[in-house]
Subunit: 342 residues, 2 copies
DNA sequence: AGCATTTACGAAACCGTTTTCGTGTTGAAA
DNA sequence: TTTCAACACGAAAACGGTTTCGTAAATGCT
């Protein structure tokens, strides 16, 4: 078991100074070939690796980007992370993941800890609780301390920074319009409480489509799920009230795939044929949609692309390749047609 | 925009030495109350946060654990990570994620980079390629450098370290036995190539169950999928050959949920009723199994538990709360009964 | 008053590197 | 022979802290 060796050890052992060793290892012209050879051989033999903390302290660069997300066991986020990881890696960065669990408190803690010099920049998707109570002071601190950060997916207008979002409104508009064009008359919406910005935007798209086709807005077939994502039972019961009625809707647009999948399940239980009696379109093209039966038509939002672009934006800021005003990139969506629509 | 302030700045501003500031901020008894108050107030006002790199360099502790996994967009792994993150956080550690993409090269790179002092310990699930070519020198390096690491899920006997695995053999045995007991006569196995240890163990469990009930081993209904996990098309075609035959099996045990879900899909296409004509049990209780229809009976492997325990083991080693011989923890499974079995 | 002990703080070393700035030695040009 | 560059290397500062040790002044004790 060779002990972890430092530059000092090498210097002492070879009777030279640490500066000489350092220079030799970087092939500096200041050092003679023979000395370089000797030092390199020695370093090689002992598998010398420069101490990463020392490097980071010296260079004031960590080559790490922090990611703060509401949860990790979630197709959307895991795909975004995957995208982030890819470009981060390409550009020489590592990724540190922190989970807020949709809690304001944890989000704040995570961000404060990342802001103490652990990372060169941060990628954040805001937690539901933060969106609810609208306290964004931790983001101001980031700005004050000059730490680059970009918000993705769950963003807030009042925070000044780079942002990247899905064209939620547009995607919902497309989906709803499609349902209308195919002949649906009674289109329900399953969404989130309105403090969740993405749910809100999708609802707006839904409303715009209704308007365009002169459909009347019917609040009785629009429900906002106030349960946690992993409380399938609770969500199930809320959706049930929408479908187990005398005249159920003939189409449903759901703002995520979980709601869509649950709606599908309930529809089948109620004896409805999907897509004949009831068409369903979800948002987020994940694995549930692909494997449910009938498979679900969805608004595909290119999760990994979002992660990649977010990482690009952040790293460009970190490396000052972008220096102008903050930008907001909108990623467009497209409908992934499957079996739950005609 | 207040500039990031250091201890030196505080010292200079207040006309004291850096040591005094440092001590005052940690409430040392060596410093008088009045001085402490003054220093703390000043530090507070400027939102002083000690530089994390400096701390880490000094203490030789990073309070970070590295995680190297084959992929991230995968229910099993994302759940394991979730478990890891939870206990890591509880115990004051952060988590750095690296993805090997099932590549030996990337795994090696990742581990080498983590081993340079970036983390206090590493959690690893070995990539398929590494398992295939059986080159484990990077693990030896970790041992030589005294960097604690624990292997989870995909492990190798010849690597000496703490390990934590699912009771793959036992789970497969239970599942297969169950199928037999319920009357299945022709039980197919869909597995991975044999260099994937978990697939291999599950196959062994399958074989043991056959033996126990005096079933003959029939190689023609045992297939090893050699496609990548995201090549659904390729996997689909391989499984099709198993089901689209004159006398298809009346039960299938699949070593993961993707194979099970695909088998289900194919069975339905072939007009088989699941579970009447064909029963299916998968491994890994993920979201696909829950939402497919009929929903899939699976061998639940408690992914998050594995992550939690893995993190516990690692941190105990890091903090020397465990010092004895290496241990291997086996996490037992249980069958999650759903609609794909009688 | 004389000595021992606190009290309250500073100097300096240290963590492991990089980098700037000398500096002694050599070889070549004048 | 002198002078000057080039060469090859070392000393020291710096990154931002923590910590050990030393010490002057104030206090306690007899």
């Amino acid at each position: 078991m060779k002990p972890k060796i430092t530059i000092k050890d090498i210097a002492k052992e070879l009777g030279v100074s640490t500066s000489t060793v350092s220079k030799a290892l970087k092939d500096s012209h200041e050092i003679s070939e023979s000395t370089k050879l000797k030092i390199k051989a020695f370093a090689d033999f002992y598998h010398y690796k420069p101490n990463s903390m020392a490097l980071k302290l010296r260079s004031q660069k960590t080559m790490v980007i922090g990611v703060v997300i509401p949860e990790i066991v979630h197709h959307f986020f895991s795909r975004v992370i995957s995208g982030i990881e890819k470009v981060a890696n390409q550009r020489g960065y590592n990724v540190m993941i922190c989970v807020s669990n949709e809690s304001y408190e944890k989000e704040l803690l995570n961000i404060e800890m990342l802001a103490n010099g652990s990372v060169d920049g941060i990628l954040i998707s805001i937690s539901k609780e933060t969106q609810k109570i609208k306290d964004f002071k931790h983001f101001n601190e980031l700005s004050e301390n000059n730490i680059p950060f970009v918000l993705f997916d769950r963003v807030e207008n009042e925070i000044e920074c780079d942002k990247i979002i899905i064209d939620d409104e547009g995607g919902a508009f497309k989906a709803t319009s499609y349902l209308i064009e195919k002949g649906a008359k009674k289109i329900a919406l399953i969404t989130t409480p309105n403090y969740v910005t993405v749910g809100e935007s999708r609802k707006e798209g839904y409303l715009r489509a209704l308007q365009k086709f002169n459909f009347e807005y019917n609040p009785s077939i629009v429900i906002a799920i106030d349960k946690n994502d992993d409380d399938h039972e609770g969500i199930y019961n809320q959706i049930k009230k929408l479908i187990f009625v005398k005249n159920p809707p003939d189409a449903i647009f759901a703002v995520n795939e979980l709601y869509a999948a649950l709606a599908l399940k309930i529809a089948k239980e109620r004896g409805l044929n999907v897509p004949k009696d009831l068409e369903i379109i979800g948002f987020t093209d994940g694995i549930i949609s692909e494997f449910s039966s009938p498979s679900l038509t969805t608004v595909a939002q290119h999760d990994a692309t979002m992660g990649k672009h977010a990482a690009e934006m952040l790293i460009n800021r970190i490396e000052k390749k972008t220096t102008g005003a903050f930008e907001t990139e909108v990623i467009s969506t497209n409908i992934m047609f499957r079996e739950s629509t005609k």
